[in-house]
Each structure stands twice: as structure tokens, then as C-alpha cells.
Amino acid sequence: MKTFYGVSLPNPLMLGTAQYPSPAILAEAFRASNASVATVSLRREKGAGHDFWRLIQDLGVRVLPNTAGCHTVKEAVTTAQMAREVFETNWIKLEVIGHTDTLQPDPFALVEAAQILAEDGFEVFPYTTDDLVVAERLVEAGCQVLMPWGAPIGSGLGLSNVYALRTLRAHFPDIPLVIDAGLGLPSQAAAAMEMGYDGILLNTAVAKAGDPPAMARAFALAIEAGALAHGADPMEPRDMAAPSTPVVGKAWLA
């Protein structure tokens, strides 16, 4: 099983920590799903930071700080540096937003920032598109994990371009691939894992569900299901039907 910068995760679900009705429900969602990674951010200290940090530490999971909301290389790099000091980890979920409506990555700034951070010793988890060439540049820049989007952040649309996601999987057999953003339902996460993806990063679909812990658990189960199915060598779909019950030995009852 692939490792994330040498770390093997007990559970391929990475869960965001924003938008929950309450801190208690956030914690319950992590317990219910056994998510192994929590994404966090840095914001201007207004007093709440301390308690939130205590909450996250109590989850007993790995922390993956993000550079959410950064639109330039410099912003992203400085934010990453601050995150490394605060969260004491080299892991960074690198977001460099290229467009406000789609919140899609800016491939140009992303590759540049990834290069700077990788050289500076960071272990970069780039939030990227499903573009194969951009993915290759990120790997050349030093990324050992890729996190293509399924659809725009918070849209819940699922996997917009299955063809491109398959292509990525085929071209990077040894790089851990995580679907980051855009999923709305567990069946979509299962489908990604069935395609051979190595993990799923979620936030809105869980936090904005009516029952976040139940939805978190639903995603965790679907992810496990998809991974199992991928390993179990599924049947090939075919256009014609074929009886499951044996035909031989059927009684003649006309």
C-alpha cells in the first residue's frame, strides 16, 4: 500500500474541519469515520485559535495544514512557512487559487510554489486539476502525492471528468492520488477508489450534511468498499445478459 511521504495511513479518508454545526459534532464526525488526517488552516488570531488547536490535538490524527485562500505564490509560501512552525509538520496542502468562481488551482503558480516549498523541505500535497501535464510538472517539482479535484470545492458534483482521472491513475501507478474537493455522496468516493485512487479528501459534503457524523461514516465505509473492490478484480461489464442460475438441469414443466 502506498505511503504519503513515508507515512502509511490506517484510513484513506482525510477530513476537513470547517463548517460543522459545533466542535462536538466535528469531533464526533472524526470518531465515526476514523479519518486519519485532519485539514486545518491559519487565520488571524482572535482568541479562538487555542481552543480549536486543543480540539484537533484530542482527535489524535495527523494534521494537514492548508494554504486555502491564497492567490499568489508568495502568499502560499509564507502561509506554508507559518503553518510549519505552528503545526510542527512538513506536510502542507498547497492551494493556490486561480479563479474565485471555481476555486480551481492556478496551475502556473501552483507548480512554482510547489517547487519552492519542496526545495525548502516541505512535503507538498498539491490541490491540482486533473491535467496530466500539470501533474507531471508537480512531480518534477518534488511532489510525491497528487490531489486532483473531482469538481469545484463545495459543489458536491462528484467526478466531473472520469476519463481524465483514469488517465492520471494510469500514468502515475506509484504516486498516491487523492481526490480533493467536489464530492457530494459516498458512491462518488467509492467510484474513485474503484478506479484505484489512494484516498479522498472531504469537507463540505460531511460538514453540511444534516447528520455530519453519519455522513462521515458513510464516506469512510464507501471508501473502504471501493478500495476492496479495486483489489478484488471486478468482473468486466458486458452488453449481453448471462444467467446466474445454472440452465442445465432445469425441469421441463411446460
Binding site: 488552516s41 488570531e45 486555502a68 505552528v86
Partner: protein, 65 residues
Amino acid sequence: MKIILNGEPRDVAVQTLAALVDDAGFSERKIATAVNGDFVPAPARQDIELSEGDRIEIVSPMQGG
């Protein structure tokens, strides 16, 4: 001296970034700092002399997706 702390204008008496962090009562907190867009590691804060109009950012852990 007038600076901008986390986006708000402030008139401060302190000389160094370290002092500002103390003054703001953040010294015990889990925070990181940047001056005019550049990261300043904790140990370096005491060596950073503030100047008129500096943009200081003091950030701490927050929810993220």
C-alpha cells in the same frame, strides 16, 4: 509608531516584533508571525525592529478544508 496589525491600524510603543507579540498578549499562544508578507520565525522576532507602516500578521490555528 503606527503599524497595521492583522489588518487594523494600531499605534504602538514597542520596538520589536517580539515585544508586539507580548504586548498583544499572544506570547503564550500557538501563533506564527509575518511582517510585510514575509514569514518571521519565532526565534527571530526579537531581532525584528518595527518601522512606521509595517504590516504585521499574527495567525493561529483555525478550521480548514
